[in-house]
Amino acid sequence: MERNKRHIKKWLAMLPLSLVLLLSGCSQLTVLDPKGPVAESQKDLIMYSIWFMLVIVVVVFALFTYMVIKYRDRPGRGDKDYNPHLHGNTMIEVIWTVIPILIVTALSVPTVQTLFDLEKPPESTASATAAKEPLVIHATSADWKWFFSYPEQNIETVNYLHIPTDRPIEFKIASADSMSSLWIPALGGQKYGMAGMQNTLYLQADEQGVYDGRNANFTGEGFAAQTFEVYAESSEEFSNWVEQAQNSPELTQDQYNKLLKPGLTDRKTFSSTHLQWVNHGTMAGMDYAIELHGEAYEKELHLKSGDIEIDATDEE
């Protein structure tokens, strides 16, 4: 709450300036300030399209302003330049059909290219010496939290994750219950997590840092609190963290079942994964959570805005 008040005061004072900030601050917007190759390629595509859009907007606005000013019905204009029977002109109509087709083509080509590129792990960047095998992390959402399972390292975290930089991460996304969407805007676009279905999303961080990640798809009462933090660090630091995590207690099935219950929970670390009992991304695991906790939705959390702030900032 203290943090809020400080921010509110700061911003209230700057309110008149905010328009200027808006114009100059674009490069600080998360999506346009990528921290990895996937977000980078998406930013490039967005910027490429924005130039086209700006040209279209400028042309239409200019034409519009010209017409509205020049052809307004002002006193004394008379019938000069007035032609009520002008009904069309095939030549000009062909031109303004062809131009949009060309623009759409120009936008389609890089879109399709990027779409196919995003299905593969990102190419290694200059800082990486050799192509590295992607690190596999199962990201499983449950109302209203995230489980991150590292099958190779045999660790599992709740509501935060660590990743090494300069190495592709292969997220295997699924949901235990309602449809969610894994989104780490600084690292790249999102993909849905569904029960009974497994999606693959490749992301990679090139810069070290702490990035916000969240569920972006509405899942009910705790949705706004279904966030996590991503710690991107060098491979040594990552290895150290893995070792540390491997010393944590093991996850028991009983404990996991309790964690699945709809509600909010703190960060947790375990030295084993839930994948040994259930993979929610398969048809067999699809009804696991709902069979356990189907009745729990009868109760409301009575979640207020203040509850969430505290939850997101208590650690560190």
Partner: protein
């Protein structure tokens, strides 16, 4: 069931809502009783089959729904203005954004446009009513009872809270227990019946009942947009009907179409919903295009540029609208190839839409633009809609959409197209045709004040949302982080600007009713199409004699030749349909049956269904095929209306 489970308890805002509902209802009952107006209400309005009156009832209901949806919006904007706001809790916020979306699309935008179609389309094509007048009344009552059912949810039983898209499995019985979601299903189902019937009605009316000589490519452009919309309705709405029925069976009778258990297919709902939902957005935008075309041509004092291109681009848009539904869930993981196909088909819609924009601009070329309020709304549409359109193309680029999806960038986009497109068109159309409906114009000065408040408020509200979306703010969160605050504060200020604009608009209706000069001729704006050829107020049979049409600006030609719709020599008795109470009774019973299903009270649902079947029987054996208006009466009416 306990009484405190039936009524929603514990929220002061909802208690206030209950009190105001009771007060308004009591006031209406008192006024009707005191002035002895019950009989008048029944004879003139509740049993009417006159398309003009049905249209007016649609528009009034839509304005009420715009108020309700707007109040929802303002409450959301207050909650989102600052981090840590405790104005609305999560659950309450979720209910409000769900009802806001549903009310605005299903119970505001569509009825508003259908209302304008009802009033204007028969007049534009020289018809005396729609093809099936009693069915038309039934459409309206199904919409109204559906809307009432949906709107009462916030005081009785609890509002739906799974978003207007109602994605399963979240919206299923397990994760959304209670009657809330059933209100959504039954409210939409009931009003959907009416929309489908309206589609069929206007399709037949326009194809079969045009004035003699009026070829398809001579129809006024608003009529064309209505015809294309009618086709979309007839093809798209059955999908919604089936999807809603399947989810209802899931929730009420325990089947497993969209559930997580029993190998249900929750993602199938998203497909079915958007196979209807994407055409739906064209159902609310194409009539808007039609209205803008009429208003711009009239106040540019010039023929519409590229009429044929305008018509063909609407037909093309309608066709493409069925081929793009996947772009609502590019992120579901269908793969690069599927996403590529739907990406390209989505962007292709920009081509016919771009053609339309350029045609409107060309209509302004060598014109004489009059800045009436109706035209201000239409002109403001062009640049505003272009912003919404180009960002729509950006969203259509699937690889980039992974970053835009579910964010405020998307929220900003669809408000730019739906407000600058549909809402501006509703206002433009209402102001433009107001004198035809009510016999006086809306005050221009107040109209301009409300226009500027609304327009500036609109841009201030939604433009910043593109940026806060790019900063990673997802839609449907009830709480913001401090980094998103400045843009959200601006947004909230803009929302209140729009609210003020709407309030002035409504005040203008009252002010103009009191003080505006009454119309003396039927041709308020020196119009171009047949609706302006009728006297104001329009006689219930519309046209004493139906003119022969040779061009698409039929009334311009009539004025040049000195013709009117009252050719004394040619007056013949006119066949008109009788009023009937069957539609309101039938749909009232359907409303009761739906209410029973909402609470899963089977005795009520079954009784209602039996009543519905009985009413269908009554209707089938109704041999009243209308009456004839005699020549003397027509001549008397027309002479009086025209001051002859």
């Amino acid at each position: 069931m306990q009484l405190d489970e039936f009524f929603v308890t514990g929220e002061p805002l909802i208690y206030a809502g209950m009190v105001s509902i009771v007060l308004v209802t009591a006031a209406i009952i008192f006024v009707l009783t005191y002035f002895k107006r019950w009989g008048w209400l029944w004879r003139e309005w509740l049993t009417t089959v006159d398309h003009k009156k049905i249209g007016i009832m649609y528009i009034l209901s839509a304005l009420a729904m715009l108020f309700r949806g707007g109040m929802d919006a303002l409450m959301m904007r207050v909650q989102l203005a600052f981090p840590g706001m405790d104005f609305l809790g999560s659950q309450h916020y979720n209910e409000i954004f769900t009802t806001h979306g549903t009310v605005m699309i299903i119970f505001m935008a569509m009825p508003f446009l259908i209302g304008l179609m009802n009033v204007i389309v028969p007049l534009q094509i020289g018809a005396r009513d729609v093809a099936f007048p009693a069915l038309n009344a039934l459409s309206f009552w199904s919409f109204l009872f559906g809307a009432l059912l949906f709107n009462i949810s916030f005081v009785i039983g609890g509002s739906p809270d799974a978003g207007w898209t109602s994605y399963t499995p979240l919206a299923g019985a397990a994760m959304s227990p209670g009657p809330g979601q059933n209100f959504y299903l039954m409210g939409l189902q009931l009003s959907g019946i009416g929309t489908l019937a309206t589609g069929i009605n206007f399709m037949v009316t326009i194809i079969k009942m045009r004035a003699p000589g009026m070829k398809m490519f001579q129809m006024p452009i608003f009529t064309w947009s209505t015809l294309v919309t009618a086709f979309i309705i007839v093809f798209a709405f059955p999908i919604l009907t089936v999807a809603l029925a399947l989810m209802t069976i899931d929730r009420v009778f325990g089947s497993q179409f969209f559930t997580l258990t029993g190998e249900g297919l929750p993602m199938m709902w998203a497909n079915l919903f958007w196979m209807w939902g994407h055409p739906e957005v064209y159902i609310v935008i194409l009539p808007a295009f039609g209205i803008f075309s009429e208003v711009i041509a009239t106040f540019a004092r010039k023929q519409l540029f590229g009429y044929k291109a305008m018509v063909w681009s609407m037909i093309l848009i309608a066709g493409l609208s069925f081929l793009v539904w996947v772009h609502h869930f590019f992120t579901m993981g269908a793969g690069a190839f599927v996403n590529s196909v739907f990406s390209v088909s989505t962007m292709l819609i920009a081509v016919p839409t771009g053609v339309k924009i350029f045609n409107w601009l060309a209509t302004l070329y060598k014109s004489k633009i009059q800045f009436t309020v109706a035209n201000l709304w239409a002109l403001a549409f062009i640049p505003s809609f272009v912003i919404g359109g180009v960002t729509g193309v950006m969203l259509g680029m699937a690889a980039a959409d992974y970053q835009f999806h579910n964010s405020y960038f998307l929220v900003a986009h669809f408000h730019y197209v739906l407000i600058a497109g549909t809402v501006f068109a509703c206002f433009a159309g209402l102001v433009y045709w107001y004198p035809k409906m009510f016999g006086h114009k809306l005050n221009e000065r107040l109209g301009k004040i409300s226009f500027w408040f609304f327009l500036i408020g609109f841009h201030v509200c939604f433009f910043p949302q593109y940026f806060v979306g790019l900063d990673g703010m997802p839609r449907r969160v009830f709480s913001i982080i401090p980094e998103w605050m400045p843009l959200n504060v601006i947004s909230t200020v803009g929302a209140f600007g729009m609210g003020l604009g709407f309030a002035i608009f409504v005040y203008n209706i009252y002010y103009s009713y009191r003080y505006s000069e009454r119309e003396k001729t039927g041709d308020s704006w020196d119009g171009r199409t047949l609706e302006w050829a009728t006297p104001t107020p329009v006689p219930f049979y519309n046209f004493a004699t139906v003119p022969h049409v040779n061009s698409h600006d039929a009334f311009i030609e009539m004025k040049e030749k000195g013709e009117t719709t009252f050719d004394e020599e040619k007056v013949e008795p006119i066949h008109m349909p009788s009023n009937t109470g069957q539609p309101i009774i039938m749909m009232g019973i359907a409303g009761i049956a739906s209410f029973g299903l909402v609470f899963e009270w089977m005795w009520m649902a079954i009784a209602g269904l039996i009543g519905l079947v009985v009413m269908m029987g009554v209707r089938s054996f109704d041999y009243d095929d209308g009456f004839h208006v005699e020549v003397d009466e027509i001549k008397r009416t027309e002479r009086k209306a025209r001051g002859l």
